[in-house]
Every structure is written in C-alpha cells, then in structure tokens.
Point group: C2
Chain length 247, copies 2
C-alpha cells in the first residue's frame, strides 16, 4: 500500500500543480468525470481516493444525504477537512485495500484517478460490489492503459513520443503484460499498476457490474487553445472512464 | 461498400496467405475466437463476412440447426460452396450494409475480422440487434483500435514500430479520430474504418447489447516459438474480440 501523498515533497509539488488553472485534471479529467455523474441528491456516496475532497464537496452541493471520503494520505484528509468540510461529509484515513472494513452500503462509489495505484484490482472491485446497493453505480477514472503500458527505465523521465517523417510514434510496449510500473513522478519510485482494458472491463463484469459507458479522454478545440500540448490526447488518451451498474 | 475480395489479385494473395499454416489468423485470431464460442448445437447461426465458410462449417459440425453465411464477395461464396458445404448452411452474396433485408432471427451472430470494413457501425449493430432473438449473442473480432488508429501515408507500407535505445515505439496517432483509414494491403486503396474502443463498446450498449467479455489478442510462448514476430502482439494487440448478449 503506497502512500506517496504523505511524502511532503511529492505532496507540495502535487498541490502546486493542481492549484494551477491549466492542468490535465481541470481541463480534461474533471469535465469528463462530471459528465458521467447524475444529480446525487438524496444519494449516499463513497469517494475512494478522495484527495482533498473536491468530489465530496460537489456531492454535498448536489444534495447527497451522506458522503464518505476515503484516502490513504493524512496530508490529503487534513486538507480536505480544512477546505471541503460539511456536516454531511465524513473523511476517513484508510487505504483502498482496506475498504472491506466499511460496514454500510452506498448508491454511488466514485473514484477519480486512484485505481491505478492498487495492485489487486479483482479484490478492489469485489469490495466495491459489496459496498454498493443493488442498481448502485461505480463511476471511476484512471490512467488509460495505452499510456501506462510501457515499462519505464528506472526512475528517469523519458520521451514517450517521437516524430519520424511527420508521423507520431508513442512509447508503447507490454500492453498485454499486466503488472507493476515504477515511474518517476515528482519523486522516484512511484508505483502504478498497469492493466489492459479487457482486464479492467472483464473484472467489473465478473463481479456483477454491468458496463454502461466507457469514455477515453480527448481534448476539444477550446482546451487545445488553452494548452496546445493536449492535442496529443487525441493521439493517445491519458485517462479512461467507466460507469457501471451493480446488477 | 467495398468488395476487395472480388479483386482477383487481392483474392489470390489473400487465399495464398490463409493457406499457410503460420499466419495470424490460424495462430492468434482463430483460437481466441473459438474460445468465446459455446457449443452451437440446436442453435440458429448467422455469420457476417463469412469468407470461405470455415466458421459456418464449424457451426454445422457443432450441430447448429441452420446456418446462414453472408459475404459481399462472389469469389468467397463460390469457394465456401465448394469447400464448406452442408445441407444446413445457406450462403448468400450480400454486403453487411444490407443485412436488414434478412427476415429471420438467430441465436448467434458471428463475425470474424469484418466489422472494420463497415463505415456505419451504429447501423450495423442496430441491424444485428434486430436479427437476434432476446438473450441471443453477438460474438465478433475486428482489428484492434490501437493498431488501426494512425492515418497511413497514401498507399505505402511503412514501419509501424521503431526501436530507440531498446525501447519500442509504435506508430500511434489519431486514436480518438474515428473515421476512414485507406491502407495498402495486397493492393492499393483498401478502406478500413477506425473506431476507438469506447465507441465500439458504447454503440453495442446503446443498442441493447450487454458486454459479457472483451479479449485483446496476445501470443503465448508456443505461438512465439512458431513465429517470433508475434511477440509484438503482447506490446500492441492486432485484434479485439467482444461477446455481447441482447437484453
């Protein structure tokens, strides 16, 4: 169980990045995630890897009756309590690997960009299925398998794209080799887990979740005008979003 | 509606390739496709883009009560009648774009490596949904979107993989730009249609089909021993397989 957000160097650089208006979260991930969310009025919501609680606060504003935000990082939960509190929201420091300890059921389980940190995806989805009411929804985003596939050289930033004769080649290998990917991101040795898209989808289905919608991140003209490099989203998406219903 | 298989140069080169024991169809596509098929005994089966009828013959051997094989190419249907006949099998020359003219329902609609030739995927899936009994299955393979994404230079074979400092880069671009891809394959100007995986899955769901299984092609050790180049399947799969049930 990895807790990079309690590494203060990592945490500070992450918060600095998120505080900028122009970043992939604000311009790309968040708008697509929100497009998958119905109104959460009168719903019970669990947010896994809630970070500083922006999604929890949104569920509160929507009129959710109870919201539980779970994150492994004390830094994050402290910030969530400070900036996104409400009497409807309960924040808990807990790794996603231990959500089987939560003894209640929810109408929605949400998770933004956290599942790729969890090694045992089947256990995670099994635990989530137990936390959902029948007909409840899991809505999550994670890094797109096409972007997480390659096994990076040890703790080094490398070009993932090269141009040869006006054609774009992307670093892509080991797409079908599910497993750990240790990357340099703000700090050395950040562990992510790559799974191909069929594994992700089949694991949901095998645990009783019916796929309702899949979205791969893209950048529209307005986004590209704000930050030209996001045009490469349309070559190779960063993020994958899935909405699934417990049968 | 494209009929490349009635171009005799294309047809002859294609049949010569398929007649070899070692090709991606025999070693990779066919075994995975068959792994998705249950026993077809007492079932009514429709095969779209049936080619020379090998899948139809297999359904016949399985004990299917009626099999209809549909292909746009007279060359292919002639060969199917010659090599894979049975009193249970009816072969029809017809493009997939006109299957709405078929006035009966089936338990299984199968299609091997043909859907990427069809421009209007939503119409195709709508037509298929009308041809299936409730709880009937669509099982199909097609070229994997990661492999069809890039827009190729006009009628030229190009390297889709380059190695830089022991890392594998693949030609990948325009993954999110669904549309026509004109390629050189035996002959110039073969038209394929790229759709990203989310479009494929959402179109099935939106037309009442529930996803049951997704497989991305891979190569096992035995396959790689027979043909070493198929190790690259594990970097970037060629084929995508989906099994879906009409609700």
């Amino acid at each position: 169980m990895q807790n990079i957000y309690d590494n203060n160097k990592f945490f500070n650089e992450y918060i600095e990045m998120r505080n900028k208006d122009i970043n992939a979260n604000n311009l790309i991930e968040k708008p697509i995630f929100l497009s998958l969310l119905p109104c959460l009025k009168d719903k019970k919501v669990l947010d896994l890897g809630c970070g500083y609680g922006d999604l929890c606060k949104l569920a509160d504003t929507d009129g959710a009756t109870k919201i539980v935000g779970v994150d492994i990082s004390k830094n994050m939960i402290d910030l969530a309590i400070k900036t996104n509190s409400s009497n409807k929201i309960k924040y808990i420091i807990k790794p996603m690997e231990k959500i089987n300890e939560i003894n209640e059921k929810f109408d929605f389980v949400l998770s933004s960009l956290a599942f790729h940190y969890v090694e045992n995806f089947d256990k995670l989805i099994k635990d989530i299925a137990k936390l959902l009411h029948k007909d409840g929804y899991l809505i999550f985003s994670q890094e797109h398998p096409v972007a997480t596939a390659f096994i990076p050289p040890k703790n080094k930033n490398i070009d993932t794209k090269v141009d040869i004769e006006n054609k774009r080649y992307y670093l892509l290998s080991d797409y079908n080799n599910n497993g750990i990917r240790t990357v340099h991101w703000n700090i050395d040795g950040v562990k992510k887990y790559h799974r191909n898209i069929s594994t992700i989808i089949n694991t949901l289905i095998d645990n009783g979740l019916q796929i309702e919608k899949v979205i791969e991140s893209y950048a529209d003209d307005e986004t590209i005008k704000l930050e030209p490099k996001y045009k490469y989203q349309n070559d190779r998406p960063y993020f994958l979003f899935i909405k699934a219903k417990l049968l």
